[in-house]
Symmetry: C2
Subunit: 362 residues, 2 copies
Amino acid sequence: MRTLNKEDIEDLAVGAAILGTGGGGDPYLGKLTAIQALEEGHAINVVGVSEVPDDALIIPSAGMGTPTVIIEKIPRGTEIINAFKALSDYLGREVYATMPIEAGGLNSTFPLAVGAKMGIPIVDADGMGRAFPELQMTTFHIHGVPVTPMALADERDNTVLLKTCDNFWAEWIARDITVRFGGAAWIALYPMTGKELKKASIPGTLGLAQRLGAAIREARENGESPIEALLEASDGFEVFKGKIIDVERRTTGGFARGQTEIEGIDDYRGQTLTVQFQNENLVAIVGGTVSACVPDLITILDLETAIPITTEAVKYGYRCIVIGISCSEKWRSARALEVAGPRYFGYDIEYRPISKLREETG
Amino acid sequence: MRTLNKEDIEDLAVGAAILGTGGGGDPYLGKLTAIQALEEGHAINVVGVSEVPDDALIIPSAGMGTPTVIIEKIPRGTEIINAFKALSDYLGREVYATMPIEAGGLNSTFPLAVGAKMGIPIVDADGMGRAFPELQMTTFHIHGVPVTPMALADERDNTVLLKTCDNFWAEWIARDITVRFGGAAWIALYPMTGKELKKASIPGTLGLAQRLGAAIREARENGESPIEALLEASDGFEVFKGKIIDVERRTTGGFARGQTEIEGIDDYRGQTLTVQFQNENLVAIVGGTVSACVPDLITILDLETAIPITTEAVKYGYRCIVIGISCSEKWRSARALEVAGPRYFGYDIEYRPISKLREETG
């Protein structure tokens, strides 16, 4: 068990937004939420996966919805507690810990606030090792853990408790409730035992996020290149550098969908990169060739500060670097690619690991 | 307490469809559901409102959705039991009885099957004394009883438990879940005490439905006019007689909306009546003059048999009679008319009781 301080949280929010691959919420909003819990006198305690007893009950917590809505409709912080309590009351068992379902500026830090306020630790793990737009796109799902029973809450104190026949129905119904809630819902879901956690989660995502954020901060403090520090700390690849020249964005079916066009600079002069997204960045294409694709991570960063730019924040004129990071090996099986590979998202693309793609074009 | 037999149920289903004013579901489907429960050896016991102890817990049960869908997607009967159990488990208290929320071919008889299968009686009352399209259009709502906690279930064993900040939010969210379920949901809602029941319900609706059905059946058996028998038993008014010449029907937002045009015969030759509906018949207009309007009951019946024709069953060529029946006095207060008067449905019409309208035009 380790306890996070304010700087840890700031690092973690930045690193988590990088892993959030354009989605998972704004890191600024995310860090405020967790820091507020600290300032109210709560402790944020993080436990490793191996420390969790096999029979302990874990309830992950998250925000769900359209990032473009969430930044305009800032949560009070009580919504997620309402959802968490609704589900834990329903289960009627003591909850050992909470945890994130995905990495993201908001979705990695929200569970920190939940754990702090509920007086329980947060497990250093998640179900994606990145962010994905749909609830069933988790390693939990791949390992047979049901999304439901699941609770959703909004800022009006509406709460919904779902039990569905499968995880696709959970996504289908919950997405619509999120739309009815006005575009954002606060959720507690995938209740699981410590034993399931050990088999089905991606361990260490919080620690990784914190290390990435710290690498960027330290490089900046030391007058070094934060981008280089990040690429080294993440084993990442530079995919493109340029200026954002167009953003097409629409909010449909409870998602922010669209694409970002980036005109190359430096080595990329004369080329244009297109990044398509559904809450998260999914595919990066230059001149008809795939540079990186889901489930590998594609993140757009401010070229000077290495601060990640989420899909709701990208806009004309930003000078940026696009990086690619290898996804967890858990996402590379045939079964996992069916759940979250490029074809699931409607792209007629065979998944090839970013390392292979970089070798070929690099 | 009285026990219903097969003939009682058949009468009740027909009478309830008349009170259902075009909605509330098909009487044939409704009677099958309840008769099946009888044939499985269950007893259908009906209790009067005054027999219910003040501290008893009552959970009404119903079908929700688009009638045009329900007749094509016939329920198994287990859905409503799932919803009922989900809510009663959540409340964790012994349930004394169930009851209908509205009158209708299906929604009056479904609770009979629920009560029979759960081994509890059915209260002879409802929350409308007719059918209405939305959940908050009940005398329960007018008397401050919350719709939620509420459970919804479908045929795939999906269940949803809702708690909302008010009754409009319950309708708003539940309607959408119904659409996601494929157009129909089976619901348990408005849990209330015996004390609330006595204040907030319309007593005797099941008994009234049964008497109307019996009046029609007996008239037919005796070679008398079933229409005249019905008008007498219901204190109803003849509004129009004619042939259906057009039906406009669309399924939008989880409702069946549209209008029926009827070309006059006999005394009404040369006139055309238009009946506009949203699941239920709402307004009847002849030559720009309102003949009857919500919350009074407007029912279209087969001219020969006096069998009510629901909005999903009206079609070209039917020879029919349109009758009007006075609504419960509970619907005539200013507060009640705000909830379910013509203006709520978007008609710029001042509500005037059917008896007044008939005096003037009659």
